[in-house]
């Protein structure tokens, strides 16, 4: 494992880097590649919904054609009874309000009479009369409808279904032909589009390889290691928040970082995600493209492009927009359209959003909160918001998800659910998870490897059992046992 030289780049190097930066080229190429892949994934669903919409329109058109024949064919007695029932139902809904008004009047007059100490039998009898009147009215209406029904049946007493059967068979044949032709057409289109996208992906991959060959390979991590933190130091003035911390996170594992309050766990996270500029030490990460990068080369808003996404200790969602739109915020860097297209409101923006919404709905379904998709994030319960935040972290196809106290503020049953969710995320999305947590139950049940730190220094690293038995960790949490 060769270490890279720590020479400071000269001013000239810096200037040439601004104008001819292969890293920037790579980033833009990868952005395109990711977009094409998103497009490819969402394609079948989009074509399916297109097809269904078209077929639905055709079907309703056929139904309209069929309706007069169907009317001729139907049993008139049955039809008239259904019509009668529907009309009576409508009448009853209306009559319900009248009954309510009468009852309310009775209640009011009874209360008034009791207050005055009078007899309220007059009001009751008046109420009875009103109810009788309503009932009589209903009976009159029923009679009228019955006579109408009888007249209708007398007028159309024939039921001739020969025309209906013939027409239906003919239309069904037509419909089947159209359906098969449409689905074939869409399948062909889908295949064409997929092939086109595949060609695009190949071309982009070739381009990326071409640019990559101009950059000398930095270094390689040991096999199976995704993130390697070496001698990380973070000093705030004289305060050593993190001091010489070294650990490796393997691919596909759930790595827990524990420690007492103020141990510097969140600081480590912030150094990895570039919120803080580390005082010293190296952070190497194998990014989405499979090459090892030094995280210190990137700005904080470029970290997500390398494949690291994070959640926050306190939920940091946008409150004014819906849950679905919150997920779209995580894809801000994936849009191909620029500001001018957005300002002019061209239809391409809606198309892009549609693609991403398909992806977002898939993730919401996975988290079991698809019912909340159109809700504003403002009034939702805390447990749901925590899930939304995890869903948002999943939106960017990250390789490493960093969770800052995912169980903070959750109750016991929610924490148990979270344990399942974290495992499911790891298995389904093929990601590695790095989490900071105070809830020892969660850490011990979900983590493969645990690293305990105290005052910025590592105490122990190992499996859960090893950490539980470790003397230094026990002392850090429970204090030193003094012999009397």
């Amino acid at each position: 494992m060769a270490k890279i030289s720590a020479n400071k780049p000269s001013l000239m190097d810096k200037i040439t880097k601004i104008f001819n930066n292969p890293q920037a080229k790579l980033i833009s190429l990868r952005k395109k590649l990711q977009w094409v892949e998103t497009e490819k994934q969402a394609l079948p669903e989009i074509y399916e919904s297109k097809k269904q919409r078209k077929l639905g329109a055709i079907k309703s058109g056929y139904d309209a054609k069929l309706s007069s024949a169907a009317f001729k064919a139907c049993d008139k007695e049955e039809y008239a009874t259904a019509a009668f029932n529907e009309k009576m139902q409508k009448y009853d809904v209306k009559a319900y309000m009248q009954h309510r008004a009468v009852n309310h009047a009775l209640t009011k007059s009874i209360f008034a009479a009791i207050k005055k100490g009078e007899d309220y039998s007059a009001a009751v009898s008046k109420h009875d009369a009103a109810i009788q009147a309503l009932k009589a009215k209903r009976a009159r209406y029923e009679e009228k409808l019955l006579s109408e029904k009888a007249a209708f049946i007398k007028r159309n007493n024939t039921a001739d279904d020969s025309e209906y059967v013939a027409l239906k068979a003919k239309l069904q044949k037509e419909y089947d032909a159209i359906e098969s032709s449409i689905s074939e057409k869409y399948n062909v289109e889908l295949e064409k589009k997929t092939a086109k996208l595949n060609a695009k992906i190949e071309k982009l991959n070739a381009d990326i390889q071409a640019v990559k060959s101009t950059i000398p390979a930095l270094k390689s991590l040991p096999e199976n290691v995704l993130l390697s933190v070496k001698g990380l130091k973070m000093y705030f003035g004289g305060l050593k928040a993190v001091d010489d911390l070294t650990f490796d996170v393997k691919k596909g594992e759930i790595f827990g970082l524990i420690g007492p309050n103020g141990a510097g766990k969140t600081t480590v996270f912030n150094c990895i995600t570039r919120f803080y500029n580390a005082t010293g030490g190296d952070i190497y990460f194998e990014n989405k493209a499979g090459e090892v990068v030094d995280m210190r080369d990137f700005k904080v808003h470029d970290v997500i492009l390398q494949g690291i996404s994070r959640t926050f200790q306190n939920v940091e969602l946008v409150k004014e927009i819906s849950v679905l739109e919150n997920l779209l915020v995580a894809c801000t860097r994936e849009y191909q359209s620029n500001f001018w297209v957005h300002a002019l409101g061209l239809p391409i923006v809606k198309k892009e959003e549609k693609l991403l919404k398909v992806k977002a709905m898939k993730i919401l379904k996975f988290m079991g909160i698809e019912n909340y998709a159109s809700w504003l994030a403002m009034g939702l319960p805390y447990g749901i918001l925590k899930k939304v935040e995890i869903a948002r972290a999943l939106m960017s196809n990250a390789k490493l998800i960093i969770m800052d106290e995912p169980a903070a503020g959750l109750n016991d049953s929610e924490t148990a659910e979270l344990t399942q969710t974290i495992r499911k995320i790891r298995d389904e999305f093929n990601v590695t998870i790095l989490l900071v947590e105070h809830d020892m139950g969660l850490v011990m049940s979900v983590c493969d490897t645990v690293c305990a730190i105290s005052f910025g220094k590592m105490l122990a690293i190992g499996t859960c059992e090893e950490i539980q038995k470790n003397k230094a960790v026990q002392e850090a949490y429970l204090g030193v046992e003094e012999d009397e």
């Binding site: 259904a82 309510r100 915020v329 995580a330 359209s337 957005h342 300002a343």
Partner: protein
């Protein structure tokens, strides 16, 4: 028998299909849900109203009030985007408005070039100023940024005083047609509608969402890949460009402006008025910004001056708007837009109460 085939049961034989009028009506209804059409209809309505003012069906004095409201509304909308969506405030609007005024003056009067070229020059200068302020906004936040933009605005005003204290533009020609003072509305109102549409497009697009994310939490926004530099620059550039366009509309309407004594369109009082307008109207609503601007700029000349008390004591008008700001901030932090939304809910509640008084409570 497939019962779905009958649209609705009836004792008349015919299964009615929807008529032509209904189909067209549904299409129109669907289109009208798009806010872009609201803005265009609003523009047409205002033009119609102003035509009535010119023909003296409505009082002629309303014309000036409405047109100047429209001109200032453009900068209010830009400010709305800056404050409501990006979470930054500025008191530099007055100075930015001056950019528009002076660009028009120099391009038209001194160079004899057409009016629209003046707007283009104003936009270019505004972009440069916006970039400067945007870079500063990365380092400085909240009240300090406000003070800083205030200083910048005063610098700009003093530059204007040194350049040319009072400016007067001559007659404006558009496509060979000399614009009369009653015809300026045909330029100002369409520009306002275009600005409204652009703003709506931005706030409903990924860019607008990114700005909102930045306002809510800079840390979360950065973790989601949103570059603070890019979006803060963008917000300030939009704000300054809209203010400059607004300035060119103001000079088009007024014909002259003065920079001295802090009473002109680019004095501190304008910045404060625009801020107050956005707060009164609601800092997240385009309609709110226009309504707030009307309260600050149009209300006195259209309504209050017809009341004898205010006509005799014009200083009372300022007091009224001051009281309005206090009341709105205390009771309706979302502005008049929130008040209207609340009113809608209250009216619904009133109907429910009326129903309950008549029928009693619904017990299922």
């Amino acid at each position: 028998m497939d019962k779905k085939l009958f649209n609705k049961y009836s004792f008349d034989n015919a299964n009615k299909t929807p008529g032509f009028g209904k189909v067209v009506g549904e299409q129109v209804k669907k289109q009208l849900k798009n806010p872009v059409w609201h803005y265009i209809l609003f523009g047409i309505g205002v033009l119609f109203l102003l035509t009535l003012c010119i023909n003296k069906v409505l009082p002629y004095s309303w014309y000036g009030g409405f047109v100047i409201t429209a001109a200032y509304s453009i900068s209010s909308i830009g400010f709305c985007l800056l404050m409501g969506y990006s979470g930054m405030a500025s008191l530099g609007t007055g100075g930015f408005i001056g950019i528009g005024c002076y660009s028009i003056y120099y391009v038209m009067t001194l160079s004899g070039l057409p009016f629209f070229l003046g707007i283009l020059v104003a936009i270019v200068i505004a972009v440069v100023i916006g970039v400067i302020v945007g870079f500063i906004s990365l380092r400085i936040e909240s009240i300090y940024l406000v003070i800083l933009t205030l200083g910048l605005s005063e610098i700009l005003r003093n530059v204007y005083v040194k350049l040319q204290n009072a400016i007067v533009i001559g007659k404006v020609e558009i496509f060979g047609h000399t614009l009369k003072s009653t015809e300026t509305m045909y330029v100002i109102i369409p520009v306002l509608v275009i600005v409204m549409i652009i703003t709506y497009n931005i706030i409903s697009s990924p860019t607008g969402r990114a700005m909102l994310a930045m306002k809510n939490s800079t840390a979360a926004a950065q973790a989601m890949g949103i570059s603070l530099l890019k979006y803060r620059l963008m917000a300030f550039i939009i704000c300054t460009v809209f203010a400059a366009v607004s300035g060119s509309m103001i000079i088009l309407r007024n014909g002259s402006e003065t920079a001295s004594n802090g009473v002109g369109a680019y004095a501190l009082i304008t910045s404060l008025n625009v801020l107050a307008a956005v707060i009164i109207g609601g800092y997240k609503s385009i309609w709110g910004a226009i309504f707030g601007t009307f309260v600050m700029y149009g209300l006195s000349s259209t309504i209050l001056q017809r009341i004898e008390l205010f006509a005799n004591h014009p200083e009372l008008i300022t007091i009224v708007s001051g009281v309005l700001v206090i009341v709105v901030v205390m009771f309706y932090p979302g502005g008049l837009a929130q008040l209207l939304a609340g009113l809608k809910i209250k009216i619904k509640g009133l109907f429910k109460k009326m129903k309950e008084a008549k029928y009693g409570k619904d017990i299922g």
